[in-house]
């Protein structure tokens, strides 16, 4: 492993993404940098870096946090960059909602790759750490981590399908799926809410996801979603730590099942915790793991 751009000081550089023309973007806590030639000078102190979003302009600095700040980014079929902005609370409090909606905290924002045209694309997100665009429809699909402290088996985690700009997905009125949060219980929901297309097992922490477009795997996996479950942190019986696959049928119905597991042993101890899934050029899958500090390649031999 090599240290990328060692002369630069990063703050939570969780989210890298590449544009089709090979520009690297890194979404941090409160900045987005652009590297036009990342692969040529990555070890050099002279790595060329430009601000897509300058320090302090992604969110108001007084709203910075450490938790729920693992941002992800991706370039959409429209050529715009999409960036997730988790909100820092378990359940977002009422006095923050107006500001959050304006900035896009607890949402996904998008902008042109010259930094212009910023807007909030997605509302009502708790903490999304994975998204991808459907290879045929171009729709944005994304995972979301749901509310803690309501019980071992509720509320469900989510995979969401977004078909239009500005849709609202329910946080903080909903804690996951159709389960209402205790904090906002009984309150009338003031927005029209889109329910998740997939409800996942509670507290498994669905993170990175990618649509499969390769030709290595059998035909049934075409356009399926591979997603990583990081694993629960305070569920009585730990759950997760696996790679899931979501199949979508011709009517658009989705069903999810485990694809790769074994990182959680019989004593409830994590041997590894998958974070993200990406497709390699040959059609095999790359899975990252931040506990074992490793990557795994999953391939198919027909």
């Amino acid at each position: 492993m090599k240290d990328f751009a060692p002369s630069l000081q990063f703050s939570i550089p969780n989210g890298p993404c590449f544009s089709a023309d090979g520009f690297l973007y890194i979404a941090e806590q409160n900045r987005v940098l652009l590297f036009p030639a990342a692969e040529f000078f990555y070890e050099s102190p002279d790595e060329a870096a430009f601000n897509l979003v300058a320090q302090g302009d992604l969110i108001p600095p007084e709203e910075e946090s450490f938790n729920h700040t693992a941002r992800v980014c991706d370039i959409g079929p429209d050529g715009m960059i999409y960036i997730s902005l988790g909100q820092p609370f378990n359940v977002a409090p009422p006095d923050k909602l107006a500001l959050y909606d304006k900035v896009g905290i607890g949402g996904i924002i998008r902008m042109n790759t010259d930094g212009t045209g910023r807007e909030v694309y997605t509302y009502g997100v708790r903490n999304s750490v994975g998204h991808d665009f459907h290879p045929e429809t171009g729709e944005l699909w994304w995972t979301d981590n749901q509310v803690d402290g309501m019980g071992d088996d509720t509320p469900p985690g989510e995979i969401n399908r977004q078909v239009a700009a500005g849709q609202h997905f329910g946080h903080p009125w909903y804690g996951g799926g159709s389960v209402r949060t205790a904090d906002y219980k009984g309150e009338e929901v003031p927005v029209e809410v889109v329910m998740p297309i997939v409800e996942t097992v509670a507290h498994a922490a669905d993170l990175g996801m990618t649509f499969y477009t390769g030709s290595m795997f059998p035909e049934q996996y075409k356009n399926a979603i591979f997603s990583a479950q990081h694993g629960s942190w305070n569920r009585t019986e730990p759950i997760g730590a696996r790679v899931m696959v979501t199949m979508i049928d011709e009517e658009g119905n989705a069903s999810i099942e485990p694809f790769a597991e074994g990182w959680l042993d019989e004593n409830g101890e994590y041997l590894g915790r998958p974070v993200d899934v990406k497709q390699l050029r040959d059609g095999s899958l790359l899975v990252s793991d931040d506990l074992a500090v490793s990557s795994y390649r999953i391939w198919y031999e027909g």
Partner: protein, 192 residues
């Protein structure tokens, strides 16, 4: 190197045991170990954190750990995960789990840089606590330290000493302090 480390570890080990021993008659480390089942996914059973947002807490003063858990439980200190966990803990569970984590031995090795003068009286040049109710800083993630200093500065977290000190630091100084202590390597030895 190994030879030099061993006596140091033993001194710390004894120190840790004595520290736990002074107040141990009210605390039950075995019961604390069971409570630590709620902590270990993030903080490890030995207090060496497994995720970046969680601090290392092995060998931390018990008084500091108990005070933080009480603050999370009462809402004085807030964190989206810790507030959920602490809400369910009794006073005895807090004391016991604090004793469990405080009883491990921790050793720090300074590798580079100049210790920040504003911090060393309480947190040491090596990031080791110099007093009760003071956390170790050695080896914590830089953004963890950065986040806490900014929280003290902006009033989101309060402490009679830290609010004042952090209030006089600018963001660049905060990051320098965070980078200094984050670069110190620590080793935690579990004490059962």
């Amino acid at each position: 190197m190994v030879r030099r480390l061993i006596p140091y570890l033993m001194v710390l080990l004894l120190g840790g045991l004595m520290l736990a021993g002074t107040a141990a008659y009210a605390q039950d480390r075995d019961a604390g170990r069971k409570v630590a089942g709620m902590c270990r996914t993030c903080h490890g059973l030995d207090g060496y954190a497994k995720i970046p947002i969680a601090p290392h807490i092995g060998g931390e003063p018990a008084s500091y750990l108990a005070a933080q858990l009480q603050a999370f439980r009462s809402g004085v200190r807030k964190h989206e995960m810790m507030s959920v966990v602490a809400a369910s803990l009794s006073d005895a569970q807090i004391d016991n789990v604090a004793a469990w984590y405080a009883g491990h031995a921790v050793a720090a090795t300074v590798t580079e840089g100049e210790a920040p003068a504003a911090c060393t009286a309480c947190h040491g040049a090596d990031g080791m606590s110099q007093a009760e109710d003071v956390p170790h800083l050695a080896g914590e993630t830089n953004i963890y330290i950065d986040t806490q200093l900014k929280a003290f500065k902006r009033g989101k977290r309060r402490h009679e000493v830290m609010s004042d000190i952090a209030g006089r630091l600018d963001d660049t100084e905060i990051r320098m302090i965070a980078d200094y202590y984050a670069a110190i390597e620590i080793e935690i030895t579990q004490v059962d």
